[in-house]
């Protein structure tokens, strides 16, 4: 079977061709309206940025790993690499220019309690592949640190077989000199669950894009995330969830706090395909603007071709509620502390979506760390 599949080199050559043809994304291309990458980076720089270093803090027991920089990839890698989800131009670039990356496989029936911790801290292109076989579970903590400037471009592919459950927590530290691009493609079979939380503290330009295909009945995707942005920080989360099969469910809850001159973006498209009857989707995105110079662009979008579908979406941009602030202060809570309480309260339900208690506490710590920057020009 292996011989019939195109080689990795062939796939990379094809991706390179595709990237060359289409070029850099920009304001009127591939929904990069609020994140003009072409204005600050050209195709040559993407090619030159090379391969990003990654570090997997010892794989949990029961998880098989493969270094994509090595030859003789196993069958499970060859069957999936470069095949999952949409292939926007920057994702093609990550395949074309990355000489490495990490692939993880959870074999059928294994439930892995200990989180897999993946760290990416350098610039460059890199690929990540996750294959969860039938009736498995895994928690992946993906941590982005470092602020060396230029580009980090990550192409992630996730294949969830039936009844597989992945909890994905992506943490991106503030990196105001750097450009961060990541595309995550997910395919989900019957009853598969994808829970993902995106905590992003802003880059010069940060784009996290998801394409999720709920391909069989009872597949569920639950996305949540928080931004705490200050200074010139930027964070764009763009998602496209496709309800391909009926009786599939998706929820999204994003909370964004933007201060300074920062910009928070959410573009969420949901497509319910023909015949995907009985699907249920909800999306909520809210932004809290601190000070008059921050900006939030929240664009939920629904495209429905099926019947008997439940869809709810909402977006709101606001300020701290003066009545709440007065209530707290009238009980003796000093103004700065009251503001702080209310900002935390605003983020609360989105952070609560993280199931793993330890990771949830860690995200709260990062939020605490980022809040003073976001609140600096709060008045």
């Amino acid at each position: 079977m292996n011989a019939a599949l195109p080689s990795r080199d062939a796939r990379r050559a094809e991706a390179l061709e595709s990237f060359r043809e289409r070029g850099m994304p920009h304001r009127r291309f591939e929904h990069w309206r609020y994140s003009d990458l072409r204005a600050i980076l050209d195709a040559g720089q993407v090619a030159q940025s090379g391969t990003a270093a990654w570090h997997l803090e010892k794989a949990p027991e029961g998880v098989e790993t493969f270094d994509l920089g090595k030859p003789d990839a196993p069958d499970w890698v060859m069957r999936n690499l470069g095949t999952i989800g949409a292939r926007p131009t920057m994702k093609e670039a990550s395949l074309a220019f990355a000489d490495g990356g990490i692939a993880l496989r959870v074999p059928r029936g294994r439930k892995i309690a200990e989180p897999a911790r993946l760290q990416i801290s350098s610039t460059g292109n890199v690929r990540v592949l996750l294959v969860l076989e039938e009736e498995t579970s895994l928690t992946l903590l993906e941590t982005h640190t470092g602020d060396a400037g230029l580009l980090r471009n990550v192409g992630v592919e996730i294949a969830l077989a039936s009844q597989a459950k992945l909890s994905h927590v992506r943490f991106a530290a503030s990196a105001l000199k750097s450009i961060s691009v990541e595309h995550i493609g997910v395919t989900q079979a019957r009853g598969a669950q994808y829970r993902a939380h995106f905590a992003n503290f802003g880059s010069r330009l940060s784009r996290t894009e998801l394409h999720i295909l709920l391909q069989e009945e009872d597949a569920e995707a639950h996305l949540s995330g928080v931004n705490v942005l200050g200074d010139e920080g930027h964070a764009d989360l763009t998602s496209h969830i496709e309800h391909v099969a009926g009786n599939t469910r998706s929820t999204q809850l994003f909370k964004k706090v933007a201060g300074g001159h920062s910009r928070a973006v959410y573009q969420g498209k949901i497509t319910v395909r023909e015949g995907a009857n009985g699907s249920d989707s909800r999306q909520t995105a809210k932004a809290l603007l601190l000070g008059g110079r921050a900006e939030a662009d929240l664009k939920p979008e629904l495209i429905i071709f099926a019947d008997d579908v439940k869809c709810a979406h909402g977006a709101a941009v606001g300020d701290l509620d003066p009545e709440s602030l007065f209530y707290l202060r009238s009980r003796g809570v000093p103004e700065a502390e009251a503001r702080h309480m209310l900002v935390r309260a605003f983020l609360e339900d989105a952070v609560a979506e993280i199931e793993n208690e330890e990771l949830r506490a860690a995200i709260w710590q990062d939020v605490e760390h980022a809040l003073p920057h976001a609140m600096r020009a709060a008045r």
Binding site: S324, L328, S330, R331, V333
Partner: protein, 249 residues
């Protein structure tokens, strides 16, 4: 304790209080009654220090200091407490966490040592039981999904925790069933002390059967238009405001 002289207050550019004069001594309980829209809540907000309530004339002195120039949170630390007519719902803040934060913020401002989580819990539980504020309510987000009566009981729980010097109760009785009214009144009466004063805003004489006021004031059109002892409340209940408020404000 509290000395309000010729107070004029504008909200959103519109004058609501138009020369209100009122004085409350230590240990006294005063009631304010008056028609809807006469400015009762406005007065309570001005005393608590809500933004957007502009004092255009007159003065408020509280325990010898100028209340109008004090920050909202400092007033609370110095013993001013307002039980609001419409307590605010704050999702994402647990009631118990809020009580602890507020209590310790006031203690800190007064130079007292902060209480640890266990001591706060003990204190809150002890006061909560008397007001039938349940453990379950304390775990929920502040006022979120609380019934009207539950919100009012939580306000009185805070009063009982903070032990204010000047407590202003803005229609704490509205929305309470008869049993809750008694609980709340007991809570208030338990706090009556020679060094404390209370300002009770209400539409109903019923509350004043339990919390017997030293003075009753009638507020109409932004001014005090009548004053008397507790029998004035009975008279108002029987005859309405019409015979006192001659001209519409």
């Amino acid at each position: 304790m509290l000395e309000i002289k010729n107070l004029h207050v504008a909200v959103g550019g519109k004058e609501i209080l138009k020369g209100l004069t009122l004085s409350i001594g230590e240990g006294e309980v005063h009631a304010i009654m008056g028609p809807n829209g006469s400015g009762k809540s406005t007065l309570s907000y001005v005393l608590a220090g809500r933004e957007g309530y502009e004092i255009t004339q007159g003065s408020i002195s509280y325990r010898g200091g100028d209340l109008a120039t004090m920050k909202t949170e400092d007033r609370a630390a110095k013993g001013v407490f307002l039980a609001m007519q419409y307590p605010v719902e704050i999702p994402g803040v647990t009631t118990l966490t809020f009580l602890k934060t507020a209590l310790n913020a006031q203690r800190r401002a007064r130079g007292d040592s902060e209480l640890d989580a266990m001591s706060v819990l003990k204190l809150v539980r002890q006061r909560a039981t008397a007001l039938q504020v349940t453990e379950e309510m304390l775990k929920r987000a502040l006022n979120v999904g609380f019934s009207g009566g539950e919100k009012k009981r939580l306000e009185i729980l805070q009063m009982s925790l903070f032990e204010p010097k000047l407590a202003i109760l803005d229609e704490t009785d509205s929305g309470l069933d008869i049993d809750a009214l008694k609980l709340v009144a007991e809570g208030v009466n338990a706090l009556r002390a020679p060094e404390r004063a209370m300002l009770v805003i209400t539409h109903y004489q019923r509350l004043l059967n339990y919390i017997v006021p030293d003075r009753v004031h009638v507020l109409a059109g932004g001014r005090i238009v009548a004053e008397g002892g507790k029998e004035l409340a009975h008279e108002l209940e029987a005859k309405g405001y019409a015979h006192i408020v001659k001209e519409p404000a």
